[in-house]
């Protein structure tokens, strides 16, 4: 059995019929071919699959595509506008907030949401705000610096 879903992804209207059990992350990666959203775990710990759903950071491996019906989603592919990196992306590059880059799409989008809620976060706010996103490479120090830098630029 398939259900219709209709949603906006990175500004484009998308309509598909999907299996009700299809995870949102697989819809994005495999149905739409937007492979920038990564999968790092099965249990909602790592946050690599984070996307913005109606402006809020959500873990797309913990949501069904049908649950996102009617929503507007931004994935990492939709963040840079007209070839210009978003200030959070720029700050991650400037401060070396990424190494292997696998957690980065989720980390960047979580940081976007964090700064939306709290435009002038302290380091403690940033560290607390990133608790749901794991990074095994950077030790977080430069990710915190990047979010701090992004806050200053935005």
């Amino acid at each position: 059995m398939r259900f219709p879903v209709s949603l906006t992804v990175n500004g484009a209207r998308r309509r598909h019929e999907v299996e009700p059990r299809l995870l949102l992350v697989h819809y994005l990666r495999e149905t739409l071919g937007l492979t920038g959203t990564n999968i790092g775990c099965d249990t909602s710990q790592c946050g690599a699959c984070t996307v913005l759903l109606d402006g809020k950071a959500v873990k797309s491996c913990t949501m069904l595509a049908v649950q996102a019906d009617g929503a507007s989603i931004t994935t990492i592919e939709g963040l840079a506008k007209n070839g210009r990196l978003h200030p959070v992306q720029e700050a991650f590059r400037e401060k070396h907030g990424l190494q292997c880059g696998f957690c980065t799409p989720g980390m960047v989008l979580t940081a976007c949401h964090l700064l939306e809620k709290n435009p002038k976060p302290s380091d403690a706010d940033i560290r607390h705000g990133l608790e749901g996103n794991l990074c095994r490479c950077t030790g977080y120090q430069n990710i915190v610096a990047a979010v701090r830098e992004a806050a200053a630029r935005m």
Partner: protein
């Protein structure tokens, strides 16, 4: 090296694709007509397979095939080879079939595979495969597994002893007889799960018409995987192309050649279509290698004045159920040879038993053997200091090898390249304001607050390594590196290397080297790696070797380019070659700097060859190989300051100071990033991380819900500094920095916690130092 590019924090070339979702990881590749593979895995740690019923699964819509170990064997797919067999250790390498044939030996052992047109259908069908097991007795503890009456995993391996290896130097027993003090300890260096954020994946595309296969795979060493695949798939090496695309971390866990690599190729061959396998995280916890897992009985001997005279140790290293690719080298060569640490310890003996157990195989995990050595030595040094009532700094300084630049031989038989251990420690002490810190600690102790300071003054072995040594210690390959530098007519450059960086930033640092040495802008250089169809043979990225060994090859190619360019320049300038000199990308006539040709001018002429020296080959491209004369030995001094809440057992890290020395630094930003990440992994081992099995061999920490990967909110800002002691082992004087943080930090934090608890009489708690364990230790001490 006049350019400022070398030694500056150039922003990474890797970042734009990674920041925009344009990177391509293995699971991001989709081929036309591609099918998905799912693995049926054993829920038992040790069992005989009585029957496998595949009919129901095979009949499901979309299922292309269900295969067992026998099917793979019948198709000529052999066991997964072990590529490092340490000589003189009576090593046993029982066959490791990619899919179990009769017996499963760990939870997660593959039993069957399913290929289907859809990822979800493949999983459904895997669930529908019915397997009858006859459970067998289980052993998970490496020391117990060697005892009488314990279950034996492999028929021809009595006492489960995969190998026994000994390192000895000096006269250890005499040193212990003559000692004024002896300390002894049972150290459990617990099992860890690597947790690269990207789990593994493999996509195989076999073409029956040509017999060629392309395998996209998460690998730190695609050329090694190709070599090993040629042995176990029966497909000749020249028909195998292994591509390791963008990779979400490895930390050693993507060194091995895994069963799933051959399963994907087998499935593609059988089903006549490309087949992709993508590991789930819970599969990763059971099916991808683990690290560490030593039980160490250790002793240290010293004189009254604090002179350390000997180390004696017996280690039981848990190898898991089979020997993974590089496994036997980890607790031996990369561990036992480093027991002198940063000190002049004349008498050392260690016996290492590699033991089979009903657990996931172990192999290299960041640091790989050296963290287990450093922790042992740094902990023992502190125990001796405590016994002699010496300051941990004083005893370290007393025993350090004095500064050296031309090699220093240690009792284990290796020769360190260069070091200045006291220099690094002094810098750390200055950053800590050590005297004031101790005064503050004493004051807080009076108030009942428990602050601790811990040190780890490490030296490590990396930059693997001289190929003759690799051969002598049983590694089944070379350890040299390769590079091709190719100038295009437009003066832009491609570099092709045998290493396979996956987060360490060599696409940037190698471009910096080319820029500095040949005078082209960094943005004009692109570095390619990770594709056996495109890049020269090389042995991959692990053992902090990519920069120290890979840059040696790159420099070889650069020198050849410069020499050839000089000949072309002399021709164009109508001068003799001896009259041409190179500086900053220009070849000029000595004494007449205005008469010059740029490297770009020369690249154009070399590529078109219109006006060209007679007899000289056209093109501006050079290839070089570099086999280092020795390993490199980075070192440093790390210090942790912790606060322990003795009522809750909680350990809070208040400060972390890291002084590291990796010789000359190409990109300080990248070096610092490597240290940050390494330090956090090592702290993770000290405080939170640990893989746990129950007695039936079930992995209790089976997902990220139960295994504590460190999070952002647990750390203060790390305070970093570098000292610079170049090595003579490679042309640029560089040492590896990928693993130092992990090697150093576990002991620093552990020693700090023990220092905090010293007034209570607590001297030992098994890692990780979770609140519960600390609380129990404090409670027991107070009783």
């Amino acid at each position: 090296m006049a350019s400022k590019v070398f030694g500056s924090s150039v922003k990474r070339k890797e970042d734009p694709r990674l920041l925009t979702g344009q990177a391509k990881f293995t699971d991001d590749f989709t081929l036309p007509h591609m099918a998905h593979l799912a693995v049926v895995r054993s829920p038992y740690a040790h069992a005989r397979i009585k029957a496998i019923r595949t009919k129901k699964a095979a009949a499901m819509d979309g299922v292309l095939g269900v295969f067992t170990g026998k099917d793979m064997k019948d198709a000529g797919f052999g066991p997964i080879p072990c590529a490092w067999v340490v000589p003189g250790s009576n090593a046993k390498t029982p066959p490791y079939p990619p899919i179990a044939l009769d017996v499963v030996r760990y939870v997660g052992n593959a039993v069957a595979i399913v290929v289907a047109t859809d990822r979800y259908v493949a999983r459904d069908a895997a669930e529908a495969v019915e397997v009858d097991y006859e459970p067998m007795p289980v052993v998970v503890d490496a020391k117990k597994a060697t005892e009488k009456g314990k279950p034996q995993l492999h028929a021809d391996v009595p006492s489960n002893l995969a190998f026994t290896w000994t390192v000895a130097g000096g006269d250890v027993d005499a040193a212990f007889r003559a000692a004024d003090v002896v300390v002894s300890e049972r150290i459990v260096n617990q099992r860890l799960i690597p947790n690269a954020m990207e789990a593994r994946a493999a996509l195989a595309d076999y073409r029956s018409a040509t017999g060629e296969v392309t395998l996209w795979v998460t690998s730190q060493n695609p050329h090694i995987v190709r070599f090993l695949l040629s042995l176990d798939t029966g497909i000749p090496e020249q028909k195998i192309r292994v591509i390791a695309p963008d990779m979400g971390g490895g930390f050693g866990s993507k060194i091995p050649h895994y069963p799933e690599d051959t399963m994907a190729i087998f499935a593609s061959k059988q089903c006549g279509c490309p087949v992709k396998w993508t590991e789930t995280r819970s599969e990763n916890y059971r099916g991808t290698i683990h690290g560490r897992d030593h039980i160490q009985d250790v002793e240290m001997a010293a004189k009254k004045d604090g002179t350390i005279t000997g180390i004696r140790a017996t280690v039981w290293a848990n190898m898991g159920a089979y020997l993974s690719t590089a496994s036997t080298g980890i607790p031996t060569i990369l561990h036992g040879l480093m027991l002198s640490g940063a000190y002049d310890i004349k008498n050392i003996k260690e016996v290492v038993h590699g033991v089979f157990t009903n657990t996931t195989p172990t192999d290299a995990y960041r640091g790989a053997g050296r963290p287990e050595a450093t922790f042992m030595v740094e902990r023992l040094v502190d125990l001796v200091a405590a016994k002699l009532k010496m300051d941990p700094v004083e005893i370290r300084k007393k025993n350090f090898i004095p500064p050296f630049t031309d090699g220093h031989a240690v009792a284990t038989g290796i020769t360190y390249d260069s070091g200045n251990y006291v220099g690094a420690l002094d810098k750390a002490l200055q950053m800590l304001d050590y005297k004031a810190l101790r005064a503050k600690q004493a004051e807080l102790r009076k108030k009942g607050e428990h602050i601790g300071v811990g040190f780890s003054t490490y030296a490590e072995i990396c930059g693997l390594g001289p190929s003759a040594v690799a051969g002598a210690v049983g590694f089944g390959g070379g350890l040299w590196e390769s590079a091709i530098v190719r100038f295009h007519p437009s003066g832009k450059v491609n570099v092709f290397v045998g290493i396979q960086p996956h987060g360490q930033g060599e696409e940037t640092t190698f471009a910096q080297i080319v820029s500095s040495e040949l005078g082209v802008p960094v943005e004009d250089v692109e570095v390619f790696h990770g594709d056996t169809g495109q890049t020269p043979m090389g042995w991959g990225s692990y053992g902090s070797r990519s920069t120290p060994v890979g840059s040696g090859a790159l420099m070889g190619a650069i020198v050849k380019i410069r020499d050839k360019a000089k000949i072309v320049a002399a021709h164009l300038l109508e001068a003799s070659v001896d009259d041409v000199e190179y500086a900053d990308g220009k070849f000029a006539i000595k004494g007449a700097p205005s008469k010059a040709k740029t490297i770009q001018d020369i690249a154009l002429m070399a590529n078109v060859a219109w006006n060209y020296p007679k007899g000289l080959e056209p093109g501006l491209e050079a290839s070089a190989f570099f086999d280092p004369s020795n390993f490199v030995y980075p070192f440093g001094a790390h210090a942790a300051v912790v606060r322990v809440d003795v009522e809750t057992g909680e350990v809070r890290l208040e400060r972390y100071v890291a002084v590291d020395d990796c010789g000359r630094v190409i990109n300080p930003m990248i070096v610092e990033g490597q240290i940050h990440g390494g330090v956090v992994q090592g702290i993770g081992q000290a405080l939170w991380e640990g893989a746990a099995y129950d007695d039936s061999g079930q992995l209790l920490t089976g997902s990220m819900m139960d295994y504590a990967v460190p999070k952002a909110d647990a750390f203060p800002l790390f305070e970093l500094a570098m000292t610079e002691t170049p090595t003579k082992v490679n042309p640029l004087g560089v040492k590896g920095i990928g693993e130092t943080g992990t090697i150093a930090s576990t002991a620093a934090v552990y020693n700090a916690v023990m220092d905090a608890l010293a007034p209570l009489g607590v001297t030992q708690i098994d890692m990780p130092l979770t609140p519960e364990r600390v609380w129990r230790a404090v409670r027991d001490a107070r009783r």
